[in-house]
């Protein structure tokens, strides 16, 4: 039943052999040594300072949504850096390899530039996959993980253990793609894969297998996460947090996760069929024997286009939180903002065909998808106007976070307008597969990156209790923007000049000057990376000076996450507040209720830490690795062990633990003691609230104190 693979295979090691390790490659071998040395230093450092217990207890086994979110973001930032290095290598290859003649570095085995075509193919494939699924997605999922429960007044996600599982499966995907650097090769046929090049006959190596299982793992992790987000928002909202009072970021998280939940299975099925072709010898996407290679493209983009809205919608949500906070105004058109998010999510399902207008399905189909694609411009336009009207006559503060958000708006404009151009099939026939398209979607993805940096700077003080250095945040912003301008505006030009994407040898000497400009842009990007690292260093060094002593770090924030203590204690809210208005914190501040303290406490129910999520994550990595190298015993053993662990955990369950009311009161007192009272905050209070009674904390005491039943104070009334 299994397909015979070309080359040697042994039952014990599968296709693994010493020759698969590229120790002769002059880029990878030194890199491997550096990484091994850095790893040894890291492990030695952790051992020397005796931090293993701390790491294990506080991070590896945690189910706390904030810590999981932080780990997601660290993962995303590391992969953003890896993807950036891939980008740097591609830019350098094109700058060096441009023009006719023999300009290759022979020592690297390259005829043009310094990379052989096969190596270059792996780099652009890894760059795309990493940036979209292992950088943008973890960054956004991490931020949603931290902020969504805080914004709706929940103590944790609905399924804390599932949350940890999602993180560790995503980490397994990251390890799988990283190990492909040093063991074997990665796929060389683009991040979305082309049928039938990825079939075994044309790609006999393990690269495509690495690609399949990395994607499968990250799809699994993200699907689990999206189930969790939806259940959390539906079931875990604080009393009074009606749907109409949900912050816009939470709304965008809901719409994005509906997309993720419904679309990721398409990807998993499509890749499982590719896997069946490569492992079992079926003919789903082959060119002959009844296979249909167009079907793969169709299935992939059936997921792929909803996926791009899955990554853009939370970014829109972040802009919708940052811009009002630094305009000192409520968001303009809250309801249209929410409706626009869902309109984008809905339309995302009927546009996927614009990724292959040139396939040849004729004018009627193309017209439908062209119009549907243009329709996306309407809700997006609504959002942009809403942000603009929020800014209009606002009391603007151009903090670092605000600069990143405004930068995102500019990129959205450029990306959106070029997107409108690409929505027209006639133009698409002209620029299809050119770097014009590449420049367009980089505008959109960089819009996400801008929103993410904005959100990191904005929410950092809430989580860590001190602000990031504003000056270096701004320096990084300007360097990053200069890099974006220098790399991607020439790319638009090159697209018009007819450069197709993924060229390892750009043959036209007239493109040369633009490549040089892009190369300069990449170096400016390097400076912005250094500025980012320096910003982190300076901020951590001066953390005592930058400490935030109030719940509301910026003094003008609006939504519920700014009501609880800074830094957020592990239980989020000592007493779950009662929500009275949209923008609860702004409402309380304006009416002088920020200093309102709960007059009594209740016992709360918290989940226990568990290492099982980490174990299952590690096992899924082994499953992926075993499948890639066709080591069947490893695959089967890890899979069975993972299932056994899952059943074991399900049977054992997690009763959690109860923190009694007295202990809560004590912890709250300690947490509050570290903060200044909000009475002494420099932000002026409003004129007071007239009429009606206000509920700051629901007085209803539904749980019998002292009983071991988990209290349900975090439920929606």
């Amino acid at each position: 039943m299994l397909v015979n693979v070309p080359g040697p295979w042994s039952p014990l090691l599968g296709r693994l052999a010493l020759s698969e390790i590229p120790y002769t490659n002059p880029i990878l071998a030194p890199l491997f040594i550096v990484i091994v040395l850095a790893g040894i230093v890291l492990i030695a450092g952790v051992t020397y300072y005796g931090k293993w217990g701390y790491l294990w207890k506080e991070w590896f086994t945690t189910v706390d949504h904030k810590k999981l979110g932080i780990m997601y973001i660290i993962l995303g930032l590391i992969m953003l850096f890896r993807g950036f290095i891939d980008g740097l290598m591609m830019r350098t290859q094109q700058a060096l390899g441009d023009g006719p003649g023999d300009n290759g570095m022979k020592v690297m085995g390259a005829i043009h530039g310094y990379l052989a075509p096969f190596h270059f193919g792996q780099i652009y494939s890894a760059h795309g996959l990493i940036m979209i699924l292992l950088a943008a997605t973890p960054l956004l999922v991490g931020l949603m993980n931290i902020i969504v429960p805080l914004q709706i007044g929940a103590r944790d996600m609905a399924y804390p253990y599932l949350n940890a599982l999602g993180l560790w499966i995503t980490t397994a995907a990251v390890f799988l793609i990283m190990i492909s650097l040093f063991v074997g090769d990665f796929s060389h046929n683009g991040w979305f894969g082309y049928a039938p090049i990825f079939e075994l006959a044309y790609s006999p190596g393990v690269g495509v297998d690495y690609w399949i299982w990395t994607l499968e793992l990250v799809a699994l992790g993200t699907t689990l996460g999206s189930i969790n987000f939806l259940a959390t928002v539906v079931k875990m909202r604080a009393p009074g947090m009606t749907w109409g009072r949900l912050p816009v970021f939470t709304w965008t998280a809901v719409s994005a996760n509906i997309i993720a939940l419904t679309s990721f299975p398409c990807l998993q099925v499509a890749l499982a069929l590719v896997g069946a072709d490569r492992y079992l010898g079926t003919h789903f996407f082959t060119a002959g024997f009844g296979g249909n290679l167009m079907l793969y493209t169709n299935l992939f983009w059936l997921w792929g286009h909803p996926e791009v809205y899955f990554v853009i919608l939370p970014a829109f949500g972040m802009l919708s939180e940052v811009i009002p906070a630094f305009s000192e105004k409520p968001i303009f058109g809250y309801i249209t903002m929410v409706l626009a998010s869902f309109a984008i999510a809905g339309v995302s399902w009927i546009v996927w065909l614009h990724h292959f207008f040139t396939m040849g399905m004729g004018p009627y189909v193309s017209t439908e998808f062209s119009i549907a694609t243009m329709l996306v411009g309407i809700p997006t336009g609504v959002k942009v106007f809403n942000w603009a009207f929020t800014l209009y006559r606002g009391r603007l503060t151009f903090s670092a976070a605000m600069l990143w958000s405004i930068g995102a708006l500019f990129l959205l404009l450029i990306g959106g307008l070029t997107g409108m151009m690409l929505a027209i099939p006639a133009i698409n026939y002209m620029v299809h597969n050119s770097v014009f398209v590449v420049a367009h979607f980089h505008m959109m993805l960089l819009c996400i990156v801008y929103a993410v940096f904005s959100a990191i700077i904005f929410w950092f003080p809430k989580i860590y209790g001190f602000k990031l250095n504003e000056a270096w945040g701004k320096i990084m912003f300007w360097l990053f923007s200069a890099g974006t301008f220098l790399v991607f505006f020439p790319m638009f030009m090159l697209g018009f000049m007819g450069e197709t994407r993924r060229l390892d040898w750009p043959f036209n000497p007239q493109w040369g000057p633009w490549f040089d400009v892009q190369e300069i842009g990449i170096f400016v990007y390097i400076l912005s990376v250094l500025a980012f690292l320096w910003m982190l260093y300076v901020s951590i060094r001066d953390r005592h000076a930058n400490r935030v002593h109030t719940a509301d770090a910026w003094g003008t924030s609006r939504s519920l996450e700014w009501l609880t203590d800074t830094p957020v204690p592990f239980y989020n809210f000592a007493m779950v507040p009662h929500i009275n208005a949209l923008d609860e914190v702004a409402w309380r501040r304006e009416h002088g209720f920020m200093d309102k303290k709960p007059d009594h406490f209740k016992a709360i129910h918290m989940p226990n830490n568990t290492p099982i999520a980490l174990y299952i994550g590690a096992l899924t990595f082994l499953v992926g690795f075993g499948l890639t190298w066709r080591v069947w015993w490893l695959t089967l053993a890890s899979l069975i062990l993972a299932v056994i662990l899952m059943i074991y955990r399900s049977n054992k369950g997690d009763p959690g633990y109860i923190i009694p009311a007295e202990k809560m009161e004590e912890m709250d007192r300690e947490s509050k003691a570290r903060m200044l009272s909000d009475d002494s905050h420099q932000v002026p209070h409003g004129g007071g609230f007239s009429g009606g009674t206000v509920t700051a904390y629901t007085a209803l005491d539904r749980d019998a104190s002292g009983s071991l039943t988990p209290p349900n104070d975090s439920r929606h009334l």
Binding site: C266, L295, N298, L302, I350, G360, M361, G362, P710, N712
Partner: protein, 121 residues
């Protein structure tokens, strides 16, 4: 919310799940898969008939899985399952329908006629 939160076994979602449902769902979808495999393996029908037969099997399998395994129905006490169903139907029609339409247009222009398929020119 009167049903006890202390014991997850008493949640309506869990109460609705029975072993018999899962086994029925598994058996029905396995049988349909087997039927489709036998039909294709033996080339029992002409090409286009085969296509329709597989689609029919797949359609019934989807309904069986949605009903028996996912417990998605229109009962009143499980409003979120109904919401999921309401979302699922348009998505199903959009994804399968538009794919069908695209491929019929594409095949008309690029592929030789499938034997037994009506309306091709």
């Amino acid at each position: 919310m009167s049903h006890g939160h202390s014991d997850p076994i008493h949640h309506p979602e869990v109460q609705m799940a029975t072993n018999r449902n899962y086994i029925t769902g598994f058996v029905v979808s396995s049988l349909l898969m087997l039927a489709a495999t036998i039909l294709v393996d033996g080339h029992i029908l002409p090409s286009f008939g085969l296509l329709l037969a597989i689609i029919g099997c797949a359609g019934i399998a989807i309904i069986a899985q949605v009903y028996f395994l996912l417990h998605i129905d229109i009962s009143e006490h499980n409003i979120w399952n109904t919401v999921a169903l309401v979302m699922f139907i348009p998505l199903f029609i959009i994804t399968i329908g538009l794919t069908w339409w695209m491929f019929s247009q594409l095949y008309m222009r690029t592929m030789p006629m499938i034997p037994g398929m009506p309306g091709m020119h």
